[in-house]
Symmetry: D2
Subunit: 390 residues, 4 copies
């Protein structure tokens, strides 16, 4: 059952996303029958000492201090981009043009223009069998993959309502430090781009529909913060100097979908007590779904067909062998965690690479999300006026 072929992976970035992607590359072929097994060939970062330490710890054979080396190395067949958004376009386009398969973290880019250039590169590369995918990992939460199946099978009927929030609270404290995630030049946007992009993609994925327009407001509650003294790793501490927050703390918008559904969306880092509450509710003419990532192994399903006297939302523990991705793991009731979504993502991408098929979500899907993000910002800047998504 072990894969007979291997592919060399080169990864840029070794912080939060780098750590979880590394675990996926180390693990995927131990559980999934992927046609090609990954080899952790090289890790790229800017600081030599840190990159080498990270490579040793995370199991990468080599450390590089320039991402361009990943593109140049013959033993790298797949480039995995885990850096901040302002570097995605340059790395991805170079890698694709060099014939490397590319997995790119979300959001795809910091601007629509960058995303469009990336899509163009992906299409050029696809002509010669090079694959690309954007890493919206929540599509690989088994409960959300099951949700999509149920909607696609008509189990909810006509979708009428979507209710999507992504609630975090790590900025609630006014003194938490100013990191790159609060810097528009690095991060592109704040809560909107970082976590809002997830619920935009997930809602389109689950419903199988696209957002056609939005009305929005954004807000920055705390406009100045102490500058972080260290930007490496997951934790940063506050210094004594202050700087401007140049991104949104929260973004809220109304939306309509191609199939006629109406929706509310909210992304915030100020929902005290909510740690990673990525929630999605869908109401249709035949049933409803509800999900909260804080209980990621559960999907709640209501069906109108059941007699009202016996109906109700039922808690499906998404841990059965017949559930998406679950056949590879443990017996029922033995839940998965956050990192598994990345292992599933790696399995799907390696399968696409090995079988010569197009993985999803494509860069084009990533561009669609980017256009929604842009429409949200445009609407917020124009008195919340309704703004179509091109």
């Amino acid at each position: 059952m072990a894969a007979s072929e291997t592919i060399g992976v080169g990864m840029a970035g070794y912080s939060f996303m780098g750590a979880v992607h590394s675990q996926a590359w180390r693990t995927v072929h131990r559980f999934f029958d992927v046609p090609v097994a990954p080899e952790l060939v090289a890790l790229a970062g800017r600081d030599r000492a840190r990159t080498e330490a990270a490579a040793a710890r995370m199991g990468w054979s080599a450390a590089e201090t320039d991402w361009r080396r990943l593109v140049e190395r013959d033993d790298v067949g797949l480039v995995d981009i885990c850096t901040p958004g302002d570097t995605h376009a340059e790395i991805a386009i170079a890698a694709l043009d060099a014939g490397k398969h590319v997995l790119c973290e979300k959001p795809l880019a910091n601007t629509v223009a960058e995303a469009e250039a990336m899509v163009a590169a992906a299409e050029r590369a696809a002509a010669s069998g090079v694959r690309s995918m954007v890493a919206f990992n929540y599509r690989r939460v088994p409960a959300l993959a099951l949700a999509r199946e149920l909607v696609a099978n008509g189990r909810l009927g006509t979708v009428r309502h979507v209710r999507a929030v992504y609630l975090q609270d790590w900025l609630t404290d006014e003194n938490s430090p100013l990191t790159w995630r609060l810097d528009r030049t690095k991060a592109g946007a704040g809560a909107l781009g970082d976590i809002g992009s997830h619920i935009i993609d997930a809602s389109q994925f689950v419903t199988g529909q696209a957002i056609t327009g939005v009305s929005a407001i954004t807000e920055t509650f705390v406009r100045r913060r102490p500058v972080a003294t260290s930007s490496a790793g997951l934790s940063a501490s506050a210094g004594t100097e202050y700087g401007d927050v140049t991104v949104d703390d929260a973004a809220l918008f109304l939306a309509r979908f191609t199939g006629g559904a109406v929706a509310t969306f909210e992304a915030t880092r100020f929902a005290a007590g909510r740690k990673n509450a990525m929630r999605l509710e869908v109401n249709g003419s035949r049933g409803s779904l509800a999900f909260d990532f804080e209980s990621m192994n559960e999907l709640w399903l209501h069906e109108e067909d059941i007699d009202a006297a016996e109906g109700g939302f039922r808690r499906i523990l998404v841990t059965e062998a017949t559930h998406p991705y679950l056949g590879a793991w443990w017996p029922p009731g033995h839940g998965l965690g956050y990192e598994h979504t990345f292992t599933h993502e790696a399995a799907d991408f390696l399968t696409a690479v090995g079988t010569g098929t197009d993985p999803e979500p494509s860069f084009a899907d990533g561009l669609r999300v980017q256009r929604v993000l842009r429409a949200v910002e445009d609407s917020a800047a124009a008195d919340s006026r309704w703004t179509p998504v091109p």
Copy 2:
């Protein structure tokens, strides 16, 4: 402990609201030390036989076929208005001008103009000690009264987010009948006025702040329905003739509050599987609250002050003797139901009447909600553009 004085109550309307108000009038002085006890003097309806049957069943001494008789009768000191919204203004103004205290069901009126006239009448009457109140009963859910206390005491710090939905599903079926509630001339609005008004009032009540502006969309998913063959009572059956739905099925809007909070609101009758999910979440700089009427005896509280390793939302079972209204009822853990909110409302109104104080929510509070409803409709009609609430 029994009240030494009594006041004659005359009530207009004997359907859903009439039934629950009757239970409140029969019950309030059995549990609360109100300064005046109610006497169920007369019930007014249009159909003599039905009104007489309702009066007998509900415990009213007399039945009248014209609400004007309630205003004329000397033995009626308090008029309770439980009729559809198009009649509120006329009845309330007549009763107030006749010196009767008035409790009026929500929303206060079908238009801002009507509501303004009612406020004027209430102010005239107040000069001679006549009291008026609008029946936003959710303020009397003990959990929401406790929520207001917590916010007022600074326990949540600066409020940053409000998330309010009122989800019902009784129109999910496209063949459910066309009743007066779907007729704009009777009901004024659809989900927006009926249940959206509740979450507008409740969010302003709990936060102690006012909504300053909105951006909105409304939707009517099913535009024609079979006309109801009977409009009486809680249940109606569908006939073979079809008619137009002239109100919204769902209303969604973004809002800002006077204190700087941003908010999402949604009212719908198409959320399959949600029966009466009036939910409110508030996030502040020091803590958060969450409530769902489907579990009305619970309030969830998160406090930032607790060490993160031990923090989390806690489920306060709002059944302690020290909780609002609970001292009158049962031991801890023995929950209350929907109708108790009306008994609490009656207790508060009778206390105001008996002690000569102004009850809340006043007609002016009702007018404020009416202005938000109007702003929502205006924004929805103007491309969702941001619309200030006067």
Copy 3:
């Protein structure tokens, strides 16, 4: 729809149970089509002033200082016993022998012998059409009535497991006062009799099976407490004198049912944070049920027939018009409270009285519970040895 006939009710006891029974008698005919409507004729207590005040407050026409007057009065047709357990047998037997219908609070008596005498009296009286019922009100929680229907209809298949707990915490504090409920001569038993009796009856009711034997332990965690300075009403305060607790604080037992199910039971007043957690879980070969009174409007149902990939416990909001007792009340999602279970009990008893049928649970049912209580105490006293229930 109003009942054409009435029956005079005489009630003994005006504390917690008296208050909630009064509310039931005042309310039942306003919502249920009972063949006879109750009249609150007389309330009996020992202290004249207190009894008169309670009668005025609770709506009783007369106050009596001896329960024997209830039995003597011609205008009393139904005697309702809300006094401590040591008085049940004497009052009930006298009332039944005088031809009065009797509703008696639970547990039926303080000893098996008393209960047997009461059953004999009930059988004598039944011969002349006099009805008797023991007030296990949890049978009238709509969710538990629905649970019984589902089991009776075979929806759970063969019942294999019962898991029943009744958790309260009002004795957690070692200084909470010594009231009559902690005095064996008055109360008969502690947690076992007071709340253990409820889960014994409810589990037999829901499963339709009887407990055949038990193995038990009981425990009194705090053996001396400050004597209560006032024993009236729901609240009592602690004095400076100490006295012995002569009942159990907690009782735990294993059991087997006639149909082969095995069970755990636990009743305690020391479960810190649990206010009234009367919980019941049943697992069968075709499905499972779960209930918690702290969320009394919900029943959780799992069905094996549903494909495992879509199965799970579903939360039935027991507020549909088709649910037991719910047709009399409010629209879906508008929950009921604790006191409604007594109104349902009153409706069922009045229906039995008016239609000449035998109500349930009968005194014989109450005796069966008493025999389980006795077996539990016997087993606990005999090294937990298995003790059959006669």
Copy 4:
């Protein structure tokens, strides 16, 4: 940060436990600063082809068809026993006597006598610095490790109640096949040994107290089943031949703890709809805890110190960096899964091995659980009579 030393691991068994242990050995040093990193040297099984395939898939360098080879190999310093219980004693004693550190799956053995021999071997080996641990992985669920800390810090006061269940449902279907787990000669016991042992250990771990005696019943609901056609791996299919089930399907018992707490325990494979509901509730004089493995990232805490009007069970999302084991993983709200408990176990064992300290739970701890299992079986065989645990 990468460990400078390594230790060769040899593992016996490659089914469910083998798969999850392999993931732990591959992963532990990528996230934890262990003093020695594991090398996956050799995997032992009986069938050559299957063992080699498993070794390749799971990342083991060599495959052996006799566990004795693990003991003999010089490059193996640690033996990990993942085989059925009837082989534990022989393998463990041989490995310990050969100076190999031993991690042994639970329950420690199939009999008290075997467990005693293993403890003796562990003590002999400890004298020369050889470490041994029994793999009660639930101790490494962060929520349960946090629970132990809270109890140890006095946060619950005097523990009065323990309520522990382990509910599965994979035998609910009467036709599910007869595997080794239903064979007393292989498995030692049924639900009692397999999952009952987990709640016995976990309850003693969390409370810091020992069980002093029990009263028990056991039950085998389905006594004959179709023999499994294949016993390998996690899944097995039923054949046409039938055989006897020689273990318990369910075990229920009452218990007392050294500190005076009383308890109910239940282990079953017939709780339809419960997949892996390992639940633990503890009530003390100052607070309470509740846990359910089906929501393994949550711990519920109630504290008596909080004003009753604001108190309640709070849901601690056990994903903060300050929680046990969590500093190694992801940001708050990004939950862990089942397999992480084994990675934590590996980290603790490697730390003990590398630092020369005694790991917990020791074989002596495993023996203590074994003695409780024995007492349960003895009591069940003796009319549920109270049976002290030696």
